[in-house]
Structures are given as structure tokens and as C-alpha cells.
Amino acid sequence: MERLRKYGFVAGFLAVPLVLYSVFVISPYVQAFQLSLTSWNGYSSIVQYVGLDNFGRLFGDEVFWQALRNHGVILLVLPIVTIAIALFLSFLLNLGGGPRGAGMRGVWGSTFYRVVFFFPQVLAVAVVGVLFQAVYRPDADGVINGVLARFGVEPVGWLTEPGLALWSLIAVMIWQGVGFYVVLFSAGMAAIPKDYFEAAALDGAGRVRLFFAITLPLLRDTVQVGWIYLGIAAFDGFALVQVLAGDKGEPDGATTILPVTIYKTAFAYNKVGYACAMGVALFFLTVTFAVLTLRTTRRERVEL
């Protein structure tokens, strides 16, 4: 009787979550793999299997390669710059006060800085996108161009210059992301025993030395987590590009990315099968990235 009651309870608690999850998450994913082998357009009742044709077409699709190139640039730049700025700022916040008395201190006002730095993280990416439309306005009325005009600089087309647009988008991602990693790294730094710094400072190590010899090696795992996070973020960027650069990845495909292309292919061009094939490609790209990062960065840990 007790056994029966236990199983009844287990089943009762699992039923609704399992059904919701299977219907809305797992079944679309499974269907995506299946539909990627079809030429389904979204409304026809006949679903025609075309084998791997979609993937063949994908390899010849200029837009796809353009998107991949852009993801490649983001994947290189976004993690490095974000982590570098975040490490620098969190080092200043936590240890910038210098070695003193019982250990290292943070600078004055570090709580205030942390609160400000983190704030963009809680804003919706769509909201940030609209905000930066004003910041990046191409005429002299934009926030940046207006300031530049004071120094006699001609207005810059931050989002309209093909060579510049992607960098402007990456800058927004960095602007929004840094605070999160400052908090993450600060927590990591707080966990490093203070006497390490004391001992090194007694031996005459300066701040720069402290950072590279103690902080960085001991933060290795945290930085790795951040790296994977930012790498996965490099394959997203949907809301930002959609709001800031428009559907078409203007100018000239300079900001074309896979998520926006998938969305358009499925819902504007009604090529659901082809969109699913792109989704499958995106899935393998993210998984490959995560596995590669874990593989190559796994080294012996520094034991505390």
C-alpha cells in the first residue's frame, strides 16, 4: 500500500511537467531534425522528403556563409574583449585598494560600481537595441555623433557602414555583458585566500604581478565558464540584430546572423524545411564549440 502510494505520488508530480516539456520542447526539436530533410513550406499537407538536399543547398548559400563569418568574428572578439574588461574591472574593484594590513581591499565605492555595471544585464536585449538606435544614429543628432561633433568629427554611420556595423553590434553585446562577468569574477576572487596576496606582497610583488601570478591562475575555472557562456552567446544575438540592424542584416549582409536568417526563412519565406536545416547546423556549431572549449582548456587545475 505504501509502495503504491509512493508511486502514485511520483507519477502525479511528474505528469504535468513531463507532458508540457515533451509537447513544447522535445517534440519541436525532434520534428526539426525530421523536417530538415523535407521541403515543407508550412501549409501544404504534403510533406516531401528531399534527403540531404537542404544541407547541400546550405553549403552553396552565400547568406549562410556570410552568417557563419559574422558568427566567427563575434566568437573571436566577444569573449576575449568582454573577459578582459571584466577581469580588469573586477581586479580593480576587489584588490585595487592595494595590499594593506590584514590583506587586500577593494576600492572605495566598489558596491556602487558593481550595481551600475550589472544593471544592463537585467534589461531586455530588445530594449537595449532600441536604446542604442538613438546612441548610434548616423546623423549629427546621435548621442555618439553629437559628442564627436563637438570635437569637429564628421558624423559616423555606426550601423550603416558595412565595415563598422558588426563591430557596433559587438560593442553593444560587450556593454551589456561585462557587468555579469564582473560579478562572476568578483565572487571567484573573493574565494582566493587573502594570505596568498599578503605573502606575495611581502615578497615585493606589485599589483600587475599579483594579477598575473595569483588571481588569473586561480580564476581559471571561472574564466572558462565565462568563455563558454560568451561563446554560446556569440551564436545568438537575435533580438539585438533584429531590432538594431533590421531583418535583412543591413548593410549589405554585414550583420547577417543565423538566428535571424532562420526566423526569416521560416516565417517570411515559408521555407520551414530549409529553416530547420539551418537550425540543425546551428545546433552542431554550438555543440562543437562547447566540446572543443572544454577539451582544449582542460588542463591540470591549480590546487588551492
Partner: protein, 282 residues
């Protein structure tokens, strides 16, 4: 204390402050500019961007609330996020609890079934998801969006809470059982209160995630602008502002979206930072 410092050290401390202040300004200035622009007139916005508004014009705020429907978008968002997060927490904690603390055939399998959802980008599911929701007749409905939010929040919620429930001591649950409490009662009256810190973190994580969601409502609510949430609304207002030349209205709408988030953030910043940080430890 600064007096005892050698001069080199205070110079360095000064430089640290300058670096920190520069980044803080980079964050604050665009937000401050938006807020000020909501009080400006069109000509002022297109004038010198560093100028303050000539008068405190509040009419753009009224226009944004009524005419641009910010009020409605906000109401829709609150409804969707409230039920979405509530549902996620109820179903997520139930599943996590059972998976963490009961032994039965298939336990591991079901656990990994849930966690597998973390590996897939949502863009992969986009097309099929639209048609699944359509089949149920739930397109352009808040119920549909809420169910989808719950379903997509489950993998991380289950993963995080299962780990949390595992750490709770067995003795208390044992005592409750000996006193004759049912499994359900043990869960709601003993285990949930004990798991409060974990539940708070993951609730914050889900509220923020669902509040900021843009892609799913864009796909699932596309047909009925009356049902739209804030992120969609703001994006549309931004497009319309170009045609209607109501720039103060746009910035008022933007300020109205940002301000409540800012207030909540300042009150709960410690919990929010650790709640989102919990996400990074997965």
C-alpha cells in the same frame, strides 16, 4: 589612511577609480540621455544631444502610455510573466523534488531527459514550435505563451532545484513521515520552506528571463498586437517613431520600460546578482 600611503600607491588608486568611473559613465550616460530625451521636444532631440530639456514636458509620457499602448503591453507582460514563472516554479520544483529524492525505475532517464533540453538552441525548434502551438489552437493567446515559457524554463529549473533538493537533510523528511504526513504534505510544508534560498534564486532567474523574452512572443503572438508584450511593443514603437516623428514618445516609452526594472533591481540587486550568477554555475 591615505596619508600613510606612498604617493605611487595613491596615484594607482586614482587611476583605478578613473577606469571604473569611465565604465560606469558608459553605462549611465545612454540611460540618462534616454530619460532626459523623453522630456524634450522633437527639435530639442534633434538639436545638441548634450543639452538639457528646455521644460519638463510630461505629455510624451501620457502619449506613450495610452496611444502607444505601453500600459497594455506592460499589463500583458505582467500577466504572462506572473503565470509563466508561477507555473515554472510549481511544476519545476515538483519534478525536481521527485527526481532528487525518490528512487524508482527510470529516475535517471527522466532526469537526463529534462536536462538534455539545455543543449539545444531554441532557434532549432522555432519552426516546428509554431506549428505545435497552432495545432492546439493556442497561437496569439497568452495561455499558449505561458505554457511555452513554462516548458522552456523547465530544463534549467529542474536541473538547478534537483541539485538543491539533494542537499537537504533526510532526517527532517523522515520525521515528518513517521508523524504520518503524506508525501504531498511533506513536500509543501517541509521541503519547500527548507529549499527557500534555492527557490528564490531560480525564481528571480526565471522572472528576468521571461520578462526579457523577445523571440517567443514575436513568433507566437505575431497575429494579435493587443496581446503583445513589452519587448515586442517597444520594438514596434521604435519603428513607428520614424514614421510618426514622435521621438519624445519613443523615449518616454523606453524610460517607462526601463524605470520599473531599475527600481526592482536596486531593491533586490543582491538577490538578482546571485540569482543570475546561479545560472552561470550550471
Amino acid at each position: 589612511m591615505a596619508r600613510n600611503d606612498p604617493p605611487r600607491r595613491s596615484v594607482l588608486a586614482g587611476l583605478s577609480h578613473i577606469a571604473l568611473a569611465v565604465w560606469a559613465l558608459l553605462i549611465i550616460l545612454p540611460l540618462l540621455w534616454t530619460f532626459l530625451a523623453s522630456f524634450k521636444s522633437n527639435t530639442e532631440i534633434f538639436g545638441d544631444p548634450l543639452q538639457l530639456p528646455g521644460a519638463l514636458r510630461l505629455d510624451s509620457w501620457g502619449r506613450a502610455w495610452d496611444k502607444a499602448h505601453i500600459g497594455r503591453y506592460m499589463f500583458n507582460t505582467v500577466i504572462v510573466v506572473f503565470f509563466g514563472t508561477a507555473g515554472t516554479m510549481v511544476f519545476g520544483s515538483m519534478a525536481a523534488y521527485v527526481l532528487a529524492r525518490y528512487r524508482f525505475a527510470g529516475n535517471r532517464l527522466i532526469y537526463y531527459y529534462f536536462v538534455a533540453g539545455l543543449a539545444f538552441p531554441v532557434f532549432l525548434a522555432l519552426g516546428p514550435l509554431f506549428f505545435v502551438v497552432k495545432q492546439f489552437g493556442l497561437l496569439d493567446s497568452h495561455i499558449g505563451l505561458i505554457l511555452v515559457y513554462i516548458a522552456y524554463s523547465l530544463p534549467f529549473t529542474v536541473f538547478f532545484l534537483a541539485a538543491f533538493f539533494r542537499t537537504l537533510p533526510e532526517t527532517v523528511a523522515e520525521a515528518a513521515r513517521i508523524d504520518g504526513a503524506s508525501h504531498t504534505r511533506t513536500f509543501f510544508q517541509i521541503m519547500v520552506p527548507m529549499a527557500k534560498p534555492g527557490l528564490v534564486s531560480i525564481t528571480i532567474f526565471n522572472v528576468l528571463g521571461q520578462w526579457n523574452q523577445y523571440l517567443l512572443p514575436l513568433v507566437l503572438l505575431a497575429g494579435d498586437p493587443d496581446k503583445w508584450v513589452l519587448t515586442q511593443g517597444i520594438a514596434r514603437i521604435s519603428t513607428l517613431a520614424g514614421y510618426e516623428a514622435d521621438w519624445p514618445g519613443l523615449f518616454a516609452a523606453l524610460s517607462m520600460t526601463i524605470l520599473p526594472v531599475m527600481v526592482v533591481y536596486i531593491i533586490f540587486q543582491r538577490q538578482i546578482q546571485s540569482g543570475l550568477g546561479a545560472g552561470a554555475l550550471k
